[in-house]
């Protein structure tokens, strides 16, 4: 069998490459055209769109590589199957400089191209791409100085939200207006959490004593899931809620209702601060 395989080496290579090319020609268009529109996190915001584009590109690039491995693996099982007689050593393998060079160049080019594209998406084209940029963002969208600030406060195990533009009211629910640049100021009262607004394409760490800013501009109204993406204790998995993107008019009505709903406790809230720090309590001594 080994002798046959060696003699027919070029034929095997042509077959493997042929099968791989055929499968790739089918799979990649399917990924881009059929699977792509369903890949997370959707297109509710420009930030989410850039993340979906990244997911589509990554999948379209990685599937041919995976297919090559699978085709070679399965083909080897079938074509080089040993049966009956005892297994004997095959001929020694020798390196092929051309193949190795090609492999290094191709994989290197893919990695460098993805890094360049990712960096461009992160910094230049998408306002930080939904990630928290710390208190002094370097990727500021146009008009960022007039962005609507929404403070996100993580605490074991719940999120609350403050709206400094509207009397610094605090709410259990989150809503933001569509077609409006929003600056999330993410912080924490205790341990490190991570504010992950899935459909908005926002994920920003919530760290005590830090004002972590992430920009987003929702293109349409709808709902978005909020999760904690940082293991933060016993009920980490339950730190979830549903947020809303409302029309600007509906948002104003929502804010007015939230003010009324939380009015009783308003006088006890501390002045708005970019961050809070969990000062030790007596009991914690």
């Amino acid at each position: 069998m080994t002798q046959i395989a060696t003699e027919r080496g070029p034929q095997h290579v042509r077959l493997v490459v042929g099968i791989w090319l055929a499968l790739t020609a089918v799979a990649v268009p399917l990924i881009v055209l059929v699977l792509g529109p369903h890949l997370p996190p959707g297109r509710m915001t420009a930030e989410a769109s850039s993340q979906r584009d990244a997911n589509v590109l990554m999948t379209a690039l990685l599937v041919p590589i995976g297919l090559l491995v699978c085709v070679a693996f399965i083909y080897s099982f079938v074509a080089f199957r040993q049966s009956g007689e005892a297994i004997v050593d095959g001929p020694p393998l020798k390196g092929h400089a051309g193949t190795q060079l090609l492999w290094i160049v191709v994989t290197g080019a893919i990695v460098v191209a993805l890094a360049a594209w990712g960096s461009y998406t992160l910094i230049a084209s998408s306002h930080g791409s939904g990630g928290g940029q710390g208190p002094d963002p370097i990727a500021n969208p146009s008009g960022y100085k007039h962005a609507l600030p929404v403070q996100v406060i993580g605490q074991q195990w719940e999120w609350t939200f403050r709206y400094p533009t509207y009397g610094s009211i605090e709410t259990r629910d989150i809503a933001i207006p569509a077609h409006t640049l929003v600056a999330f100021h993410v912080t924490s009262l205790d341990v490190t959490h991570s504010f992950w607004a899935y459909e908005l394409g926002v994920k920003a760490d919530a760290v005590p004593g830090v004002d972590n800013i992430a920009y987003v501009n929702a293109r349409r109204t709808g709902f978005f899931q909020v999760r904690c993406a940082e293991l933060c204790g016993l009920w980490h998995g339950n730190m979830a809620k549903k947020g809303r993107v409302l029309s600007p008019q509906a948002f104003q009505a929502w804010i007015a209702a939230a003010k009324t709903k939380n009015d009783a406790v308003q006088k006890y809230l501390p002045p708005y601060n970019p961050w809070y720090f969990p000062a030790p309590l007596r009991r914690a001594g």
Partner: protein
């Protein structure tokens, strides 16, 4: 050291590690607080709880904790509570711990209760000064959150061992909330009240049966 001895040491280390992991998993799966059912039946049920500053018994003598009263009137060290679905649950909490204040004053307002209020020592309140709070009783998924007023630091006859009796210094907090469909919901205290742990967040704040539990809404 001989090769056999080295192998034996490695094997012993692996066995010890495996035993510890097994012990941890078995402990986690088997040490679940008992279920305490509310009294009454749909559409009205009653839950009676108490909070104590220190449990006073092994395995954690000085941990802060909730206790629940079972239908036979006995205090049980548990935070797994069962209430009927589609009912009004009337809750009474005897609060024996002193005030430590809320880290987030936002939780000073009772939410998700009937009328948006609570009754503290026979007074109806729609907000509690956050500095006076000792704990909260919160079921986030049901939107329920109620601050519990602590007893004054200088109160006489403070309770130190659970279960506490009503002859000892306490505040009484009453409120009602409605249940909907059957389900299992976590509940917790929002005050970092774990004395002796960094910033008050360890131990009883991270443990079922102490300051965290489940509300089982049964059909």
């Amino acid at each position: 050291m001989s090769k056999a001895a080295k192998l034996a040491m490695v094997a012993a280390g692996i066995a010890a590690g495996a035993a510890l992991i097994t012990y941890y998993i078995v402990s986690y799966l088997t040490v679940t607080p008992p279920v305490v059912a509310a009294t009454g039946s749909a559409p009205n049920a009653n839950l009676t709880l108490q909070t104590v500053a220190s449990f006073g018994h092994p395995p954690h003598v000085d941990w802060v904790s909730y206790l629940a009263k079972n239908p036979q009137g006995k205090w049980v060290h548990s935070t797994v509570l069962r209430v009927p679905a589609n009912s009004t649950v009337n809750v009474t909490i005897y609060q024996f711990d002193t005030a430590t204040g809320l880290r987030n004053p936002f939780w000073g307002e009772p939410r998700g209760t009937t009328g948006g209020t609570m009754n503290v020592d026979a007074k109806t309140l729609n907000v509690l000064n956050p500095d006076l709070a000792s704990h909260t009783f919160a079921i986030p998924e049901l939107g329920v959150s109620v601050p519990l007023k602590g007893v004054p630091d200088d109160a006489k006859n403070q309770c130190s061992v659970a279960p506490c009796s009503l002859s000892e210094a306490h505040t009484t907090v009453k409120f009602s909330f409605k249940t909907g469909k059957p389900g299992k919901f976590r509940w917790q205290c929002f005050v970092p009240c774990a004395a002796g742990f960094p910033l008050g967040f360890g131990g009883p704040m991270q443990s079922l049966g102490w300051m965290d539990g489940y509300l089982e809404v049964a059909g």
